[in-house]
């Protein structure tokens, strides 16, 4: 059903929802920016509309709600182990279509890749419902249209914030509260962006040959990339992690196993005991990430991993642009084909 709300009734609606859900949305985090006394836009729990930041793109994606930066898997106590319990209050996330499509990629890796579902991801994911934030304008670095992730239709509700009015489409009756039922019914269908300022042309999977792996293009990134991993941590679809054990008692009886985010750009990602490693050069890491996002994942799951949110471009301290990298790669591949 479609309804129209003013901000007062929307806040009333959020209050009603908060009885059943923990609500997450992009917010301005005061003083949490890169520089002193600057803010950062990131996801956190909200109570009212004034908590939400809807004019800017969030610096971090909503992935940490489903997949925390650091998560305790279990505690060892002697020979037994104990899995920490999870707050089972359902979660509601306000997110744009690119991020919702990104979460679908996370679902694929954690729930469908291999024969095992990821226990920890699944138990959080099962609690989550989404309210899609209508996004028809995008931001400077977005290229969701090229990545075919500008449209998302599996939301439980959609919302458009316009001229102090909110237009909502509620699909899931669990999100229909008394305020919604008392609101004016209208026809509302969320729109989607159909052109970004940035366009990318993705090389056809069958044209990406082994030769491109050793191409000069990657060498530039060896000198530019500083392996800080910001592109990995800001990416909605980067899902890699490393195990970490921590001793919690002097006699070694109690300890904790956790997993922490890892990134293919960061040193030691491939290090094995004994000194073997792979992809020492930062350019090789750029090649690995690029291929994963626009080639390898596609071969496995028939859609590209990258959703074109552009956050990796926003956060890179060396001004490396992923969209430019994709376009450069495509030009090289197309030109090589012409030459043949």
């Amino acid at each position: 059903m479609g309804v129209v709300l003013d901000t007062i009734s929307f806040n009333k609606y959020l209050k009603e929802l908060s009885e059943k859900f923990k609500i997450f949305a992009p917010t301005q985090k005061k003083g949490k920016g890169k520089f002193a006394e600057t803010d950062v836009v990131a996801y956190s729990e909200i109570k009212c509309m004034e908590d939400m930041e809807l004019k800017q793109k969030s610096y971090f994606s909503p992935k940490e709600i489903l997949y925390p930066i650091r998560e305790t898997l279990f505690y060892f106590n002697g020979d037994s182990s104990e899995v920490p319990s999870l707050d089972d209050k359902p979660v509601l996330i306000f997110a744009r279509p690119c991020d919702l499509n990104g979460i679908r990629r996370l679902d694929t890796i954690f729930l469908k890749n291999g024969n095992n579902s990821d226990f920890y991801y699944k138990r959080r994911r099962d609690l989550v419902k989404f309210i899609m934030i209508e996004c028809t304008e995008g931001f400077d670095t977005c290229f969701c249209v090229s990545m075919k992730s500008n449209i998302y239709n599996e939301y439980q509700a959609a919302v458009n914030f316009k001229d102090n009015q909110l237009y909502m489409k509620i699909v899931d009756s669990a999100l229909e509260t008394p305020t919604i039922k008392a609101s004016r019914v209208i026809d509302y269908e969320p729109g989607f962006i159909n052109s970004n300022a940035v366009h990318v042309s993705i090389p056809a999977v069958e044209k990406v040959t082994k030769e491109i792996f050793n191409h000069e293009i990657w060498k530039e990134y060896t000198s530019r990339c500083i392996a800080c991993g910001r592109c990995n941590t800001s990416c909605i679809t980067c899902s890699c992690f490393t195990m970490q054990d921590v001793k919690l008692s002097d006699n070694n009886e109690i300890s904790e196993r956790r997993r922490v985010w890892a990134g293919c750009h960061i040193d030691r990602f491939c290090d094995m005991a004994g000194g073997h490693t792979f992809r020492k050069e930062n350019g090789e890491r750029m090649r690995f990430k690029t291929m994963h996002k626009i080639n390898d994942y596609y071969k496995r799951f028939n859609e590209h991993m990258c959703v074109g949110c552009g956050r990796c471009d926003d956060v890179c301290p060396e001004y490396i642009s992923f969209s430019k990298c994709i376009n450069k790669l495509n030009t090289i591949i197309e030109e090589d084909n012409v030459c043949e």
């Binding site: 291999g114 226990f119 138990r123 054990d245 919690l248 094995m272 005991a273 994963h292």
Partner: protein
């Protein structure tokens, strides 16, 4: 719902010193296994690592482990009767049906012998199931040799060549890199001969190139990869090469696939 990350304690029943830095840990274990598969083993509070299974029977499994990192360092302090935490098995391993009735050369470098040991041993014990078996193994020095008892037992009924990079005053065997001993294999039926190559990345690279030069067909060569892995179940991303997850589709690959995997 099944939590695949939980690690379960198993009793260490025996620890055998192979070299100063390689010990074989025998652990009480019941369950179906395939040679070349691996377990995620751990010591609580220290860490977890993938280790290949080098031998097993109905009651136990064995893993030969080199002291090279933080976890393995701690492992060497364990005694029989201690608990080793494990989860698995993971990976495809060597399907023995691939080798039945064939003329097979097993070529291993150093600890690369561990993942292929069970498969070799199977065919030594069941020689009727294989047309011909040859074994070519390289170690750094005589002191680095693994499974010395197995090597002498195997050599009673199969052609076993052991070479070391550098011999000592007592060493009477072969010396030099594995690639220089490929000629010693029976290559009369090289078009049909099967090779299994396991070892450090550089050894596998040059050995497979040498085999191809000698006339081996790509589809008759099998390799096993070693990579960093945190999960073993296709989630952590560390072992991914192109669209392939070593933990899921490997660690054993046919060369036709392996040659196109670029880290």
């Amino acid at each position: 719902m099944n939590n695949a990350y939980l690690s379960i304690p198993y009793e260490i029943v025996n620890i055998k010193k192979e070299t100063d830095i390689d010990y074989t840990f025998k652990v009480a274990y019941k369950g179906a296994l395939t040679g070349g598969q691996f377990m995620e083993i751990s010591i609580p509070g220290v860490g977890e690592a993938p280790i290949s299974i080098c031998n097993f029977d109905d009651e136990s499994l064995e893993m030969t482990i080199r002291k090279v990192g933080r976890l393995t360092e701690e492992l060497f302090n364990l005694k029989p009767g201690s608990k080793l935490f494990m989860r698995g098995p993971y990976g495809n391993g060597f399907d023995i049906n691939l080798f039945k009735g064939k003329d097979v050369a097993f070529i291993a470098g150093g600890t690369g012998l561990a993942p292929v040991r069970k498969t070799i041993d199977y065919f030594i014990r069941n020689k009727g199931e294989i047309d011909n078996i040859e074994i070519l193994i390289g170690f750094k020095t005589p002191a680095d040799r693994l499974f010395v008892d197995d090597l002498s037992r195997w050599s009673q009924c199969a052609k076993v060549t052991v070479t070391v990079d550098k011999g000592d005053e007592n060493w009477k065997g072969e010396t030099g890199l594995i690639t220089t001993h490929i000629d010693k294999l029976d290559l009369t039926k090289v078009q049909k001969k099967v090779a299994v190559v396991v070892g450090p990345p550089i050894m596998m690279k040059f050995t497979t190139l040498e085999l191809l030069k000698k006339g081996f067909k790509e589809e008759n060569i099998w390799v096993s990869f070693e990579r960093k892995m945190s999960c073993g179940i296709g989630k952590c991303g560390h072992c991914k090469i192109d669209e392939t997850y070593v933990c899921l589709e490997g660690p054993v690959f046919n060369y036709t696939k392996a040659k196109d995997l670029i880290d």
